[in-house]
């Protein structure tokens, strides 16, 4: 006997009491506990945050091709050196994208590159873990917070009471940037996303729902999970056709971004999504120009995947590329001088990259001198506080206005990067 599959389309459950519960369990919402449900139009913008974990060699991504800085770069690089005729020129400047970034270069008019981003000088760190945590908390120099900067951003958004997901982490685990947000859907892949799929699938889900009706953090997580299962099972996510014949690379990052695009097009209420790509901690044999491994392969994948994402939205008959901004960041750059193992050790500043329909392509911020004496610990000296880049995206690109910045980065002396 077969039964018509019944879908309980999920309800919004985190709003009432979420602040209290999250506080009780030590997750803690920083502030702004009131979620402005139903108090205006729902957000129609999407913040996508791609974190390149491990500390990218920014000088191999946005490569100096001329001027004094090129000479300093050339002098201290050997195996990781890129000849000046190889990078893809950016806006007529003395910088170019890594030669494998042809896809990203093709959409350069919608790509902003902010030079030399990093922690403020009094909060520099070369620890992956400190750097990632303080970036994601949005509090350079202070690890004691419990609220991620995207959590605080999410709290400012007028999510519709009908929203199904508001925050999507395309990973197995919730990222620190969203720490404190009670309604994160973590979704690695759509296939097999249910506790079971057999005879008793429906009543099983209902029992999970009934057992986790409390207000602890695990209760809330399980409730979101049941919602997610119901939702995912109600859509055909395994057979996605991107718009305009775009194809995503057949990699983890490619499928993660494809899933975000797909869910965005389904109008579920998502305003923020995160995705990670590791593999940048290239202490040993960086393989800068190897298309089959190491840095070279990784940077090509990033370029192909983010470009596919942008074009998928831009070509969509309904969705508008002006409503999205994809932000690429790593925890720090590498040292200017190559190490003895054809690799590079932890440095400081590196570029951040923004992609979106409302972006005016160009190089922003200041690339400092990388003469030996001008470096800091042999790294590139940060000239832009990374928080100003996120703040500019939230304020100007996604149109939230400057008021949002004081809520997300209360201690920041906000200086828009464009």
């Amino acid at each position: 006997m077969s039964k018509k599959r019944s879908i309980n389309l999920p309800r919004r459950r985190f709003i009432a009491g979420a602040g209290a519960a999250a506080t009780a369990t030590g997750v803690g919402l920083g502030f702004s506990q009131a979620v402005n449900a139903g108090s205006g139009s729902a957000p129609t913008k999407l913040f996508v945050y791609l974190f390149l974990r491990g500390g990218i060699d920014g000088l191999s991504f946005v490569v100096p091709t001329g001027g004094a800085n090129f000479n300093h770069y050339a002098q201290d690089r050997d195996a990781t050196f890129i000849e000046p005729n190889e990078p893809l020129n950016l806006f007529g400047s003395q910088f170019g994208l890594h030669p494998f970034c042809t896809a990203l270069h093709s959409i350069a008019p919608r790509v902003a590159i902010v030079h030399a981003c990093g922690h403020p000088l009094d909060a520099l760190t070369r620890s992956h873990f400190d750097a990632q945590e303080t970036i994601e908390l949005g509090t350079p120099g202070n690890l004691s917070g419990v609220s991620g900067f995207l959590n605080r951003y999410l709290q400012t958004q007028n999510h519709s009471p009908d929203a199904i997901f508001t925050a999507l982490a395309s990973s197995s685990n919730p990222p620190t940037s969203m720490a404190g947000y009670p309604d994160i859907a973590t979704l690695d892949s759509a296939g097999g996303f249910s506790p079971n799929s057999g005879t008793f699938a429906d009543t099983h889900l209902m029992m999970l729902d009934s057992m986790y009706s409390g207000t602890g953090s695990l209760d809330l997580a399980a409730q979101s999970t049941v919602d997610a299962v119901n939702l995912i099972n109600s859509f055909d996510l395994d057979d996605y056709q991107p718009a305009g014949g775009v194809s995503y690379p057949n990699t983890g990052l490619g499928s993660d971004l494809a899933l975000i695009a797909q869910l965005w097009k389904l109008d579920l209420g998502i305003s923020t999504a995160t995705v990670d790509r590791g593999g940048w901690d290239t202490h040993n044999t960086q393989n800068t120009l190897n298309p089959n491994g190491g840095f070279g392969r990784n940077i090509a994948e990033v370029s192909d995947a983010v470009t596919a994402f942008y074009l998928d939205i831009a070509n969509d008959p309904v969705k508008n590329e002006n409503d999205i901004c994809l932000v690429i960041q790593s925890e720090f750059g590498r040292q200017v001088s190559e190490n003895g193992n054809a690799g590079t050790d932890h440095g400081y500043a590196d570029p951040m990259v923004l992609i979106g329909g409302l972006i005016t392509g160009g190089l922003y911020g200041t690339f400092p001198s990388i003469a030996t004496g001008d470096r800091i610990g042999d790294g590139v000296m940060p000239t832009t506080d990374f928080r100003n880049v996120h703040a500019t995206v939230m304020d100007r690109v996604l149109g939230n206005g400057p008021g949002v910045v004081s809520q997300v980065f209360p201690d920041l002396n906000y200086q828009p990067v464009f």
Binding site: G141, S172, N173, G198, H204, A222, G340
Partner: protein, 673 residues
């Protein structure tokens, strides 16, 4: 960053969160906070919701279990049920006496009854149990029988590193990866079937503490059985310095953190030394950033003086009472230490001929001992020049491992694993004191664990202060639900299990960065983690369930062996809640006969009963609103015993019982420890 700020760094994160929580905690009206230091009740009959909320548990619906069950959940991977001799609640109603489990060759005594037999009160039992667990014997009958039942699956586990390496490192993937996959499968069997639960809990702990991404490359793959055995298992309960120095010299660690290429001049590579300080020993809580060495506060007395360590004495008078030692480490300590550890290598195929052996060696040509060096000595250069690579590196590891900051950091991590996401500072202090006082003892870690596990703070901790990580969760379900399968090599069922488990987000040895899988609940409460954990349980219970010989988990056998006559749904639920969760509260899980499922005294009992009876789903039929998956069975109406073994439409009794057991395993009561 000044000194005060730096001290408030990562280590205080948990505490500050708790302080925030405490300040604005909405305690339910009329719910009194429990007295400080109250010992959890042994009756397990009180729903301590107020305590749960004030402790910040992950779910507000958890019932505090009896002391024995809590201890087994916290110290190891939860109780394994082998017989029900100890059960008293309702035992005359549903449980057969004189039960002997029929279907397994691997049965031993039930964990809970074993614990209860160790003394006449909780303190006595706990002390005896901890002593027993701290002194594991070579005999481990269940696990040994498991391993022996899968000949050929664990061959590299007992072979010397040199043998495995020389035969496999320069062969193809299937050759060099074998030690890794054997170890992965071994760890599942060990955690699920070993009698020495604390020991394997600690192996898992150190595996994260000294995390290495096991699939990085062939040198790490091939040395994995040695890494697990010669480092983690050898020193899991031993001396901390011994553990760290063994890890430092192991090819897997040399490779993973690049110390094997750390060399003279331009070849300096600080990766290992940074993590030696930040992750392995002192912790980020003792890192003062890029301060100058001479700006760091000195400890009030030299912590190395009492050690009577000949290295620290002979090389630079590092243990002299007048030598000033820094309270925190800074970047320059890391960079200088990296100079000291230049020239550390292992014998690989370039250097040893053929495949090499993986043995630790030094290359004095690459060792920089040109000048004296200052590490943790406020900028005063004390490490002499012209030391050989091994000696100088050893000195660095001693400075880090014996530092008081290390004692605090390790104590905090141990308490976080064994007690609570937010362990009491008083307990951390006690554990730290023991750890510090016994830095030279061969049983330093064992003593520290004893301090933690016999403390008042441990006794007062509650079930649910930890959310089980996926490995803990899946293994505890294997133990509780009667999984009867040896996870082995070259076996489709084992591969399926691993494949399913690997989606949970905690594939073994697969955390890429050196900080290891997180140990607090925030990380493990993602939708994907939860769904894939639940789905792995689904697989464990369903796999080959119709096959009397091959079924992976023996739910049907256990049911038939323990339940008399024609049981009612309520009796089945009461039995299985007791079996899985290790106890029954005074009023039972579902309440007395004829209690509607909605009025069951526990959420898990009510849900399991509703599921098994398929009540409250709008009926069965397929029309709109009829959401039941099978026909209704009243809660107190007996089910024909023979039907339990059948799996026919529309009742599907066999898979319905499996489904009911899954509900219990998916409950917040079982997801936490």
């Amino acid at each position: 960053m000044n000194q005060i700020e730096s001290r408030k760094r990562r280590g205080f994160l948990v505490g500050s969160a708790a302080a925030v929580a405490g300040g604005s905690l909405p305690v339910a009206a009329g719910a009194a906070k429990p007295a400080e230091g109250v010992v959890a009740p042994t009756g397990g009959s009180i729903n301590r919701l107020s305590a749960a909320v004030s402790k910040g548990l992950g779910s507000t619906g958890v019932i505090e279990p009896p002391f024995a069950v809590k201890v087994l959940n916290k110290i190891g991977f939860g109780p394994a049920r082998r017989n029900l001799g100890f059960v008293e609640v309702n035992s005359d109603v549903i449980l057969e006496t004189g039960f002997e489990r029929r279907s397994s060759n691997f049965a031993t005594q039930d964990d809970v009854s074993h614990f209860l037999a160790l003394g006449s009160n909780d303190n006595e039992r706990l002390n005896n149990f901890v002593e027993e667990q701290l002194n594991p014997l070579p005999e481990d009958p269940d696990l040994q029988a498991r391993l022996a039942s899968a000949p050929g699956s664990f061959d590299t586990l007992g072979l010397p590193l040199a043998t495995v390496w020389s035969e496999r490192e320069c062969e193809g993937f299937s050759a060099y990866s074998r030690p890794y996959f054997e170890t992965e499968r071994f760890m599942f069997n060990a955690a699920a079937y070993s009698r020495w639960q604390l020991y394997y809990q600690m192996v898992d702990f150190w595996s994260d503490h000294l995390n290495i991404f096991g699939r990085q490359d062939e040198d790490i793959y091939v040395s994995w059985s040695s890494w697990n055995r010669d480092v983690l298992r050898t020193y899991a309960l031993g001396n901390f310095y011994d553990l760290i120095i063994a890890s430092a010299k192991h090819p897997a660690m040399l490779r993973y953190l690049d110390n094997y290429v750390n060399g003279r001049g331009g070849a300096i590579n600080e990766n290992y030394c940074r993590e030696l300080f930040e992750l392995h020993c002192m912790g980020a809580e003792n890192y003062a950033g890029n301060e100058q060495q001479f700006d760091v506060e000195a400890l009030s007395e030299n912590p190395y003086t009492a050690l009577n360590d000949s290295d620290l004495r002979n090389f630079g008078n590092l243990d002299a009472p007048t030598t000033q030692i820094a309270r925190f480490y800074v970047d320059d300590d890391v960079l200088t230490a990296a100079q000291s550890m230049t020239g550390w290598r292992y014998e690989d195929e370039n250097q040893g001929g053929s495949c090499g052996t993986g043995a630790f060696i030094t290359d004095e040509q690459e060792h920089n001992s040109d000048s004296t060096k200052a590490v943790l000595t406020l900028g005063t250069s004390r490490i002499p020049s012209n030391l050989d690579a091994e000696t100088e590196g050893r000195l660095i590891v001693k400075l880090a491992a014996y530092h008081p900051g290390t004692a605090n950091y390790i104590a905090r991590k141990l308490c976080t694993r064994l007690v609570s996401d937010d362990p009491p500072q008083s307990l951390i202090d006690k554990a730290s004191a023991t750890f510090f006082a016994h830095r030279k003892s061969g049983d330093q870690i064992k003593r520290t664990l004893r301090t933690i596990l016999t403390s008042d703070e441990f006794k007062a901790s509650l079930q649910g202060e930890k959310v089980k990580r996926p490995f803990e969760y899946v293994v505890s379900a294997m133990r509780a639900a009667g999984t009867d399968y040896t996870i082995r090599m070259s076996d489709r069922t084992s591969d399926e299990f691993i494949g399913r488990y690997n989606n949970t987000g905690q594939r073994l040895f697969d955390w890429r960065t050196p900080d290891g899988y997180p140990d607090t609940r925030g990380h493990w409460e993602g939708s994907n983690n939860l769904v894939q954990c639940w789905r792995t349980i689904d697989w464990l219970l369903d796999k080959d369930y119709r096959d009397d010989q091959d079924r992976v988990t023996r739910v049907l056998d256990i049911t038939l062996d323990n339940v008399v006559g024609n049981p009612t749904p309520r009796q089945l639920v009461e039995f299985w809640c007791n079996w899985i969760l290790g106890f029954s509260p005074a009023g039972g899980w579902t309440g007395p006969e004829f209690t509607p499922y909605q009025n069951a005294p526990t959420a898990v009992g009510g849900a399991a009963l509703q599921f098994l009876t398929q009540q409250g789903f709008g009926g069965f039929g397929g029309s709109s609103g009829q959401n039941a998956d099978a026909p209704l069975q009243p809660s107190d109406e007996p089910i024909n015993r023979n039907s339990l073994q059948e799996d026919n439409s529309p009742d599907y009794w066999h898979r319905r019982i499996l489904g009911m057991v899954k509900v219990i395993l998916w409950s917040p009561q079982f997801m936490q420890r």
